[in-house]
Point group: C2
Chain length 363, copies 2
């Protein structure tokens, strides 16, 4: 049987494993947390992501390696990349780890981006704001996720304080984009270069965290989003799922960032697409043909953050599909998601409203 | 987290586990085979199904027990049934284990059945054939599955030989039914008595083994099939999935047998229904609300028996969903299945033809 190694044992690894067993795979994960949520259903090595010995073990025992998040020591992975195929390519991982490098790449590929500047001193920040204008967003170049490592700058008051909070790390400052919508496109490229695209997804964030996603197959922006994603995929000779996050501003798309992995905004594909992002990622990295990305009925995905709703109430809502990750509840922690699938958009909207009402009601 | 114990570690346990993790369950299996196909993704106890010590362990560590096949020692289970809920009810399990008892029950519930007789001597068989006529089918009362323990009697020649092959076991002889179609209905009953029904399924068998299944939501026989299934469910105060196998003869339905568990003819529900039979079985036994059984698009399921096709060729067929069970290939062994799902019946028929051509081609 083909063994796939996944670096990271979080919910993405868990859902990759759930998609992998029907394909006949065995799944080996590596995670420092002995209580990781992939533990119950995969073989798990407990160790740091950069643990050379554990990585070599994975290289020896797996046919192919992948990873489920981007804050990994690229150098450690490069060390085993000549022993076992690792996908997505480490060049994509490296670029995604650094907001400055990522933005440079977007520009090189003629993918529009908000105005940005790299800064390393308060004086540089001050000068950059004169160019870029206010409001603006100050971000760490590395290790940001779910809104962490970001500060909105409304004006110059308190600039020094904000600076001190993030100082000591390489930073970028970006134009604050008054977007109409946040969108993402989930793309996949096979080993042979074949590509496939899920419909553009509209995402709603709150406090920097994704709250809900819904596919927009009829959106006229699908074509341009696919063009941008294609440029990224081909630039890396990419293999696997890649997600490009976009802002829509005055009908134009600006690239925000990309993730070299399966992504929260693609969880709806489990019920809502012919082939899920998880299965397509596995098919791609194993050199199998890609599956169809077409939507199945109408759907929307809502994250379960901080606490889980009463499953009795949730599962009584027709069309609601519960996905629990097996994590201990904690504020601002993604504990699961719900995908609602219905035959028509009107029923879908009603069911989604019921799910939201349940989630937002005091537990 | 809620722990579900499954007695048996075969493909049904594997697919129950795959449906259980998204609901936040942990899954504990009991199987004598240390290489069972649920092993990779569940916690498995290795032991006989009737192993008292192992069963007590399950009773102590699980919130609820279920089973994935019917040839279990009911007495051993009864012994722990006061310590932990076991569903489906053991009365249903007992009835399903004995073809004579099963047929008696059908008659009591006014569910039409083929003519049958219980026999224990060759003289009784001879007399029964005079009543029932020829051809007829001689079956062991217990332990039959996938066509095993059955002999077709075309005429009285060789009757003594056939008798000797099966002798020593309690037998039934049944009228050979010249059916137009083999059908099954997958029904589910919640702890509170709520019931739900998947559409009637048309099944094709070859050499006694299920080869393919396809749902028939528009079939006018759905209503009467649901009535028969309802009588069975209510007779037992049933909880979980129950499958009733039926013959269609001259537009009438005759009951063949029932299974107190998830069933091969319901595998299409993973992609082809709003809620799969596996998830609905778990919801039922855990006291959760049942999910919708309505079909999602059009689909058909084809079993992979004896050998697996080349996954490259199979996954290149649009709409084909592969389910591999992780078992070693062996003649007449169910190694997996493929469900094809498409938006329209014409595309579905084409894709199914491609899958069949691939499976039937010399490996």
């Amino acid at each position: 049987m083909t063994a796939v190694g996944i670096i990271g044992g979080g919910q993405l690894a868990r859902m990759l494993a759930l998609a992998g067993y029907p394909l006949g795979l065995t799944v080996q994960t590596l995670d420092p947390d002995p209580g990781s949520c992939a533990l119950a259903l995969t073989q798990q090595l407990v160790g740091e992501y950069g643990d050379g010995e554990k990585l070599r073990w994975l290289a020896e025992h797996c046919h192919c390696l992948t990873y489920e998040f981007e804050h990994l020591p690229v150098e450690s992975l490069r060390y085993i990349a000549d022993r076992v195929p690792i996908f997505p390519p480490l060049e994509a991982l490296g670029a995604a780890q650094d907001r400055a490098e990522e933005k440079t790449l977007f520009r090189e590929l003629d993918i529009p981006v908000p105005r940005t500047a790299n800064i390393s001193t308060l004086a540089e920040l001050d000068a950059a704001l004169t160019d870029i204008g206010l409001p603006a967003v100050l971000k760490t170049r590395r290790l940001g996720y779910d809104g962490r490592g970001q500060r909105l700058l409304q004006d110059r008051r308190g600039l020094a304080t904000t600076w001190r909070e993030l100082a000591g790390q390489p930073l970028v400052v970006e134009e604050y984009v008054p977007f109409e919508r946040e969108l993402s496109i989930i793309a996949v490229r096979a080993r042979g270069g074949e590509t496939a695209f899920y419909p553009l997804v509209e995402n709603e964030h709150r406090h920097g965290m994704l709250r809900s996603s819904a596919p927009c197959p009829e959106d006229p922006l699908n074509q341009v989003a696919q063009q941008y994603a294609t440029r990224l995929l081909n630039a890396f000779g990419y293999v696997g799922v890649l997600v490009l996050e976009l802002f829509e501003v005055n009908g134009r798309l600006l690239a925000n960032e990309f993730a070299p992995r399966v992504h929260n905004s693609g969880h709806w594909t489990i019920e809502g697409a012919q082939t899920s992002q998880f299965e397509n990622h596995l098919r791609a990295i194993l050199g199998l043909p890609l599956g169809s990305c077409r939507p199945v009925e109408h759907c929307a995905m809502i994250n379960l953050i901080g606490q889980l709703p009463d499953p009795n109430a949730l599962l009584a809502i027709p069309g609601a599909h519960l996905h629990v990750y097996g994590k201990h509840p904690r504020a601002n922690r993604k504990l699961g998601h719900v995908t609602v699938r219905e035959r028509d958009p009107v029923s879908l909207a009603q069911r989604v409203q019921s799910v939201r009402a349940l989630i937002d009601s005091p537990g």
